[in-house]
Amino acid sequence: MKRTDVIALASVVALFVAVCAAIGPIHPDRSFVVFRYAENVAAGHGPAYNPGDAPSEGYGGALWLLLCALAAKVGLGLPATAWLLSLACGVAALAVLWTGLRARARLTASLVVSGLAAASGPLAVAAMSGEGAALNALLAVAVFSLLDRAGAGRARWIAAAVAGALLATCGNTLGLVFPVALAIRVCAARGGTTPRAGVAPASAVFLAGVVAFHAWRLRTFGSLVARAPGLEAGRASFADLFVAQPYDMAPFGLFYVILLVVACAGVAASRERATGWLALGAAIAAGMATLATRDPLPGLAGSAALVILLAIPVAHLVDVVPRGNRARALDAVVIASLLVASVGWAMDLRVFARHIRDSHDATLAPLGKWMEQWRSDGSLLCDTPGAVPYYSRWRTTLIARDVPLAEAPDVVMVTSQGQFVADMDDEQTRVAHALADRYRVLAAIRRDWTRDRALILYARNDIPELTDSVMIAFPQGIGTVVRLNR
């Protein structure tokens, strides 16, 4: 790698780290579900939400679970290690992107695209979330980069297939990325010929990997259809993209539309059209995976792979700009504008990332820790599957339509819009009514300013009144008011 390339890549990574530092660790509640599974795997309980339960597939991506479990096994504290891992995946994704770009584009064009990806909010949010979205982005860009540069030898084809198979373990629909990209690579072959020597082994490796993974799933969970408590709730809707994201976050759909428009223009304008088609195809396949679930991360950051893949054709758009004596000024203008706009949008996402962090820091984590101190072996029925069960280490059942209410857990915790007025969804209301004669209100703690979203805790009637020393330690939550029934 030339010295200028090293400096340019270091600048891109520095920009990315700066944006990540500005956003800060986010701690979405969903990430703690994976940590709980990972600690259970590390402790030898298998992929189960509660130790001793039948395995369930509520963790999202198997590869991310495996990495977190390995970290837990070697004694690394999970929330912090997962956060570092996702940050490292983000950095690695940028490095792979850079390598792939430099094979076909000028330094300036590569700098524009990498800078755009580095400063983009979704990738930074993904890297600071402790979730597997940054890993997905890394694998998706690896598939693209390896296939784009694959030639007569087999190594890159097979490496791409391995990356594609690993991506398939991160979510069912992400398994589409490699086959789609391979098909495009074959159809849009350069010079009209495709090195057949690579395609067949790559397909075989990918198929073997996917079949092995699903065979393991079938054996472990007894079904190929994921039963995922808490994680796979609902599909993304038009409103999520263009009106408002869940939990009162501004929409970010237009950002992806911009990328799509620019990517299409880049493909149309490119002299390296095959590369453009490859990136676009992989992006569309990854996008389908994204739309399959609702994304509670700001900026739909679960789609960080899309940002990188759609940015790639921009390099070709920059390349078709006529070169003249003002080209340097034009380059500077384009780079600066894109970077400033991207950082601006990343800082928009910071506003909403802060709300999630505040909720975790002030309510969910302290509440879970308080519960653990109160009773070390409690049981919980709740609709918030992440941080509270993780920190409390209580045996937890999640509220669902078919949840058995005959077994009475120690505490029932439901989300309400209001600390003092219980305004709940239908399912929570049903549970609250069903348990009304067996439970008393213990406390209510706010987790979000907007709509007064709060957690109302009910304790079973036969549990003795809590002592003053226990209740005085009850966390305050968001704001200054906590409701304690004494």
Binding site: A250, V343, W449, D452
Partner: protein
Amino acid sequence: MTAKSRRRPAPRADARPAPRPPASSPVALVIAAIVFLTCAAYVMPFIPDDSFISFRYAEHLADGHGLTFNIGEEPVEAYSNLLWIVVCAALYGAGLDLPAVTPYAGILLGLAALYVLWALCRRRAPLWTQQLLPLLAFASCGPFIIYAVSGMETALFAFLLLLVVKCSEDFVDAPGWRPLAALATAGFLVSLTRPEGVVVLPAALAFVAWESRREEAFRRGLRSLAIAAAVFGVATMAYHAWRVSYFGEWLPTPFLSKGAEGSSLVTGWYKNLHRYFVNLLYFAPPQGYLFAAMLGLGIEGVRAARAAGVRAPGDRIALILGLLLFAVYVNFVDWMPGMRYHAPLAAILVVPMSQLHRLLPVGAWESASAAHLRRFAALAAALLLAGGVNLSHLRHATAKMTESARLCYMPLAEWMRATMPPGSLLAMGDVGMVPYYSGLRTLDIHPESLTDTYIAQRAFSADYVMTKRPHVIALSVRGVYSARMDPLHWELYKSEAFRIEYGFVGTVRNQWYEDRAYWIFVRSDLGLSEAQLRALPEGIGKQRRTRFDL
């Protein structure tokens, strides 16, 4: 290569002036106008609390009560937008409802600004494709759009600023009395629209003089500029003499009570930088990046024109005015979503940006190939969508303020109108919507009071408020159940006289964030019925306290 030869060449004395615009087709203007109208419709309704202060002044002016906040009281200069108040008074005098009509007046002024901008753009860019991109950047600029429909003076100020830029350029290109008179008039109107506008015309005249120094007719031009400056000076002095004699104060109350936060300018700048680039509000995105990008592109536009040997003085005067006004605004707190004071800067920064097309060879613009058109369409779409991202985020933030108005301010005002005896005095820190719709005389008890000269000059005191004996007091509190309020208001709340004379009615929440709520107290001798007390609105959400809870 020597340092001297590396230096960027100054524009040649014989540099070509920007060519007079041919009768180009208004395609770009029409497209940009449609985009602007669509964006405006998307963010409506958004009328923040401050707009209603202007409406109240305008209605009193039109009704013959002069520039007073409370009818029958001494005039007080609690506004900073005289010309807009006069415009509103004219609209009100014509029988129009101000909260309903001013957003549309703002849209019309925004379209007028767009027209002036188009006139400037077509001097710089003969092709409609070249004109379209800067016009789209303006037509989809979130901060400008939300304040164009806000019932505030933003669109008028932006329109007049663009007129100053255009008239300055007209005068440099063809010195004469007509463009000079237009420039002086526009400059004077700018100074009447916003107090900081007083720097605009002197800066424009100084620039024009500097720009024309090598012209043959410089001496003659200089004389006419000096006359224009003298006329402006006399008119400004006359206006201020009237102002001081009318209000009896040298400075408007906002200048007495507001300013940079913190004990020093540096502290204020630091806090403002945080607002620009990190966190504007708990729920509003920072806008510094947008303005920084526009400034950077504007500077590059000036450089591009200079490198092409094109003389376009409007670019530089727009840039200078932008920087000058920014140097003023950085000292003041601009906390509203989209930054209301900075919003008009978007209009003038687009002027130099319209030179950026020179970075591409002419052939790239003139090509009519399908590939070229596709690329252009993608660029225009990306620009438009980029504006859309920011606009959608700003709409998300302004929707919260609109929710406050709908669920808190208007019902509270309605309750006061129905409950309080005519002529009652309301004491409140936010003196926009509630005083306007309740129609009550109002004492502004904000520690940085806008409409009360005593508090603005001498600071808030509980004794002062108690001597006024307001019938109803609305204290702004962070909390429904816990009373976190301004220490000065706490002093009033804890005073014995207040406890004896006033009874707590209930809370009306106006924001989710921090449970911001008004705690309503009514003078005990009013003897409100239980039905009247129970009619107090809930505000936002379901958390509230009433006296019946106590």
